[in-house]
Assembly symmetry: C3
Homo-oligomer: 348 residues x 3
C-alpha cells in the first residue's frame, strides 16, 4: 500500500509541475493534482505521527488533533485567497459528511461483514454525539437562522463570536481526552505506532517538503475547479463537497476501514468522528479568522442544502452510534445517506 502511494507520488508531482508550465488542459491538471494530493496527505500524516511520538502523548495528541487536517486547511487557504468562499464552505461540508457518512459507513459495513455485531464505548459515543450537535448543528444553524431576517452583515460578527466559543470548546475537549478523562480513551494508544517511523529532524524535513508540494497541488486544484466544472457539467459545489473531500480524506478512509476490519470499532469511529469534529471545531474557526486577515471574510452561514446535509449526517450517525453497537446494515444506511446527499449535490 505504502509502496503504491510512493509510486503515485513520484509520478504525479513531477507531472503536475511539467503540466502546469506546458499549459496542459485544465481537466488533466485537476486530475493529476487530485492524484498527487492523496499520497501527500498520507505522508504528512505519517510525519506528524512521528513528531507526535517524539513529543510524548500529550503534546503528541495535541499535534495530531490540530494538524491532522492540514491538507484541508491548505486547500481552503488557496481557495480563500482567491475569494472562492463557496468552494471553501463546500469542502468543509464535504469533509464533515464524508467523514461521518462515508468513512463511518464503510467502516461499519466492512467490519460488519466480518463481525456480526461490533461494540464500542457508549460514553465516548454520547460525548461525541453532543460535541457534534454543538460544533456542527448549533454552531451553523444559529448563524443561518439568526441572519435570515438581517440583510446587513450581522453574520460576520456573529460568526466570529460563535467561532471563538466553538474553538474554546474544542480545546476543552482535548483537555478532557488528553488530561482529565484520559483513562476513557486508553484504547487510542493502539491507534498510534509505538516507535516513530522517522527521527524528529527527518520528520520535520518530510513535513516541510510535503507541505510545499501540497501547497503547489492545492493551488493548481483551486485554479482548475472552475474550468472542470464547466467542462464536466458538474457544479462547483458538487466538486467541493464530493470530489475534493474524498481526496483530502483518503488517508483517514483507509485507516478507519482497516481498524473496523480488525474489530477495533472504537478506533475506526475515533478517526471518522474525531476528524469531523476537528474540521468543524478547529479548521472552520481558523478559516473564519484567516478569511478576515485575507480580506475576504467568510461567515458560518452555509447554503441550506449544505446545512441540511451536515445536520442530517450528525443526526443519522448519532442514532446509529447511540446504542454502542453497529452492524453491516447500519453501515449500508450511512453509505445510502451519503449517496442520497451526493445525488442532491449533483443535481444542484
Amino acid at each position: 500500500m505504502q509502496r503504491l502511494m510512493m509510486i503515485l507520488l513520484v509520478i504525479t508531482v513531477p507531472l503536475s509541475v511539467i503540466g502546469k508550465y506546458m499549459h496542459w488542459s485544465e481537466l488533466a491538471l485537476f486530475a493529476i493534482a487530485c492524484a498527487a494530493i492523496i499520497p501527500l496527505a498520507g505522508i504528512m500524516g505519517r510525519a506528524t505521527e512521528s513528531i507526535a511520538i517524539h513529543s510524548g502523548p500529550k503534546i503528541g495528541g495535541l499535534l495530531n488533533a490540530t494538524f491532522g487536517n492540514a491538507v484541508e486547511l491548505i486547500i481552503a487557504f488557496f481557495a480563500l485567497r482567491e475569494g472562492l468562499i463557496g468552494v471553501v464552505q463546500a469542502s468543509i461540508t464535504g469533509s464533515i459528511i464524508g467523514n461521518l457518512l462515508l468513512v463511518s459507513g464503510l467502516s461499519m459495513l466492512v467490519g460488519g461483514i466480518r463481525h456480526p455485531q461490533q461494540k464500542f464505548n457508549r460514553i465516548i459515543a454520547g460525548t461525541n454525539a453532543a460535541m457534534m450537535l454543538l460544533g456542527v448543528v448549533i454552531a451553523l444553524v444559529i448563524p443561518a437562522i439568526f441572519s435570515l431576517s438581517h440583510p446587513d452583515r450581522i453574520d460576520i460578527k456573529l460568526s466570529i463570536g460563535v467561532s471563538i466559543v466553538v474553538m474554546v470548546l474544542y480545546l476543552l475537549g482535548l483537555f478532557f481526552s488528553l488530561y482529565t478523562h484520559r483513562n476513557l480513551f486508553n484504547y487510542t494508544e493502539d491507534m498510534h505506532p509505538e516507535e516513530a517511523e522517522w527521527s524528529v529532524g527527518k520528520a520535520i524535513g518530510v513535513l516541510a517538503l510535503a507541505t510545499v508540494a501540497v501547497a503547489f497541488e492545492s493551488e493548481l486544484l483551486v485554479h482548475t475547479i472552475d474550468a472542470v466544472s464547466q467542462q464536466l457539467g458538474w457544479s462547483e459545489v458538487f466538486i467541493g463537497v464530493i470530489i475534493v473531500a474524498i481526496i483530502g480524506n483518503a488517508a483517514e478512509h483507509s485507516s478507519a476501514v482497516l481498524m473496523a476490519w480488525r474489530n477495533k470499532m472504537d478506533l475506526a469511529l475515533e478517526i471518522a468522528v474525531g476528524s469531523s469534529l476537528q474540521i468543524a471545531m478547529f479548521v472552520t474557526p481558523v478559516l473564519v479568522f484567516l478569511s478576515l486577515l485575507l480580506g475576504n471574510p467568510m461567515s458560518l452561514v452555509f447554503t441550506w442544502p449544505e446545512l441540511a446535509a451536515m445536520v442530517l449526517s450528525v443526526f443519522l450517525i448519532n442514532f446509529l452510534a447511540q446504542d454502542g453497537e453497529s452492524n453491516w446494515l447500519e453501515g449500508a444506511m450511512a453509505l445510502g445517506a451519503y449517496v442520497i446527499i451526493g445525488i442532491g449535490f449533483y443535481f444542484l
Copy 2:
C-alpha cells in the same frame, strides 16, 4: 371480531355497488366505501398471511413485507391516475404518522395501563430508529431543501435517484432481518399463526376477490373526496392524512394494540414501525415509479406541514423507544402529538 367484520363486509360492498349506480350522495358513498375498506384490508392481510405460511419463513417474510400495505398502494394508484398527487402524498404522510403515533401510542397506552413498565429489544429499536431517520427524514428533507432554490424540475430526477437508494436499503433491511441477523428477530415468529387459515388455492382466490373489491371501493373513495371536502368543509389534506390513513391501517391498529395488551411489546412496535418503514421505503418509491408510467410524475417533495409532521413523529418515537422501555405516559405523549398534528391539518 372477525364475525363483525364479515357482517360489515357483506353489508357495505353490495351497498356501495347499488349506491354507485343509483347515484346516491357523494357523502354517503364515501362513508360506505370507508366502511367497506376496513374489513377488506383485514381479509387481504389474512390471505397474504396464509400464502406466506405455505411459502416458508423467508419467502413468507418477503411477502408480508411487500404486500402488507397493498390497500394503501391500491388507493394511491387510483388517486395517481386521476392526477391527485396531493391526495397521494397526504395519504403517505397519514399512514406514516398514523402508524408511528396512533398505533404505537395506543399500544403503549393500552399495554401500559395493564403493565407498569414494558420492555422491548433496544438493538432493534436502534436499527429501526436509524432506518426511519434515513427512509423518512433524509429521503424527504433532502429533496425538499435541495429543490427550494431550483424552480425547474430537478425534483423529479432527484426523487427517482433517492427512491432507488431507499428501495435498495429496504431490501437490504429485509436481507438483514430474514437472513443475516434472523436470530435477533426470533420473537416475530409469535406474530404469525403456526397453521395457515386457508389453503394456497383458496387464499389466492380470496386475495384476488378482495383486491377487486378494494379496487372498486378505492376508486369510489378517490372520486368522492373532492365533494366530501366541500360539503364537510374539511380540507382534502385533512381527509387524506387523517381519515384515509386510519381506514387503511385499521387492521394493523387492532393487532398491535392486542399484542401490547398481552405484553408482547416487541411485536406491537414491529407492526407499527415496520408498517411505517414499508410505506416510506417500499410503497412510496413504488408510487414514484408508477407515477412516471401513469404520466403524472410525483416527486418526493411534500408540503412543509406534511414534512414537519413526519419528521417530528420520527424524532418523538425514536426518543420514546431509545431506552427499550415504555409506559402509559409515553403512549399518551404519542397520542397527544397525533392530536396536535391532526388539529394542525384540520385548520389548514
Copy 3:
C-alpha cells in the same frame, strides 16, 4: 445566603417604591426591580414549599408543579396587559433555554469538577426527553410551520387547540410522577425539607405579601424595558431572553448547582428540566388563555430565532442526558451553546 437575600430585599423593595415616585432614570429603576425580584422569587419558593409540606406529598407536589414559576407568570401577565407579546414570548424562550442550558450546564460543570462521572436515572431522563420534544418542539414547530402559508389568523385557533393538548399532557405527567409511577421519583423526597419552615398561616401571609411586591416590581420592569433597550442599545428580545430569564430563575439556578455539587444529579436535573417543562407545558398554555381574556391574543408562533434556540436546546440536552451520565465537558458544552445563542440574540 438567605441572610444576604433578606438584606437585598430590604434595600431594593423600598428603593424601587421611592425611585418610582421620584421619577428616577428608567435604567436605575430597571436595575433595582431586577435586584428585588431575585430574593422575592426565593421567598415565594420557600412559602410555596411550606404550604406544600403541610398539604402532604400529592397536593404538595401539585402545588410545587403549578406555582413553581409564579414569578415568570406575574411578569408575563403585566407584559401581556401592555400588549408586549414579543417580550412575553422572549421571556418564555429565555426561561426554557436558561433552565435547559444554563442551569443544567452549570450543574454538570460544577458537579463534574468535583466528581469525574455523575450518574442519574435513565428512565426518567428518557421520559423527560420525550416530554420536552412534545411540549417544546412539537407544540411550537407545528403552529410555526402550519401557519406559514396562511396569512389569516389560523395561528390563534391552532394555538388554543395545541395549548389544551399540552396542558392535559402536563397534568397526565403529574399523575404519572405523583401517583402511578411515584416509586421512580422517590429520590425527589430529598429535594424537599422534612419540616415546614413556616406555619400554613404565616406561609400564606408571606406568599401574599411577596406576590404583591413581585407584582409591583414586575410592572416596573415591564414599563422600563423599552427605555433600557434604547439606552443600552440591547434589543428587547435580548433583554427578555437573557436578562429577565436569568433573574426569574436565579433561585432554581442556585439550588440545582448545590445539588450537583453534592452529587445528587437526579435532583439537579429534576429542577432544571422540571422547570423547563413547567414553563413550556403549564405557564405557556395559561398565558395563551390569559391573553385571550386580556384581549391581546398571543399565539404559539414564536420568531424563527426563538424557535431554533429552543429546539436546539432540547436536542442538545437530550443527547447529553441520554446515557444517564454527565461530566464537566458536557456541562461546558451546554454553557457553550447558551453563549452561542446569547451572542445570536445580542446581535439581533
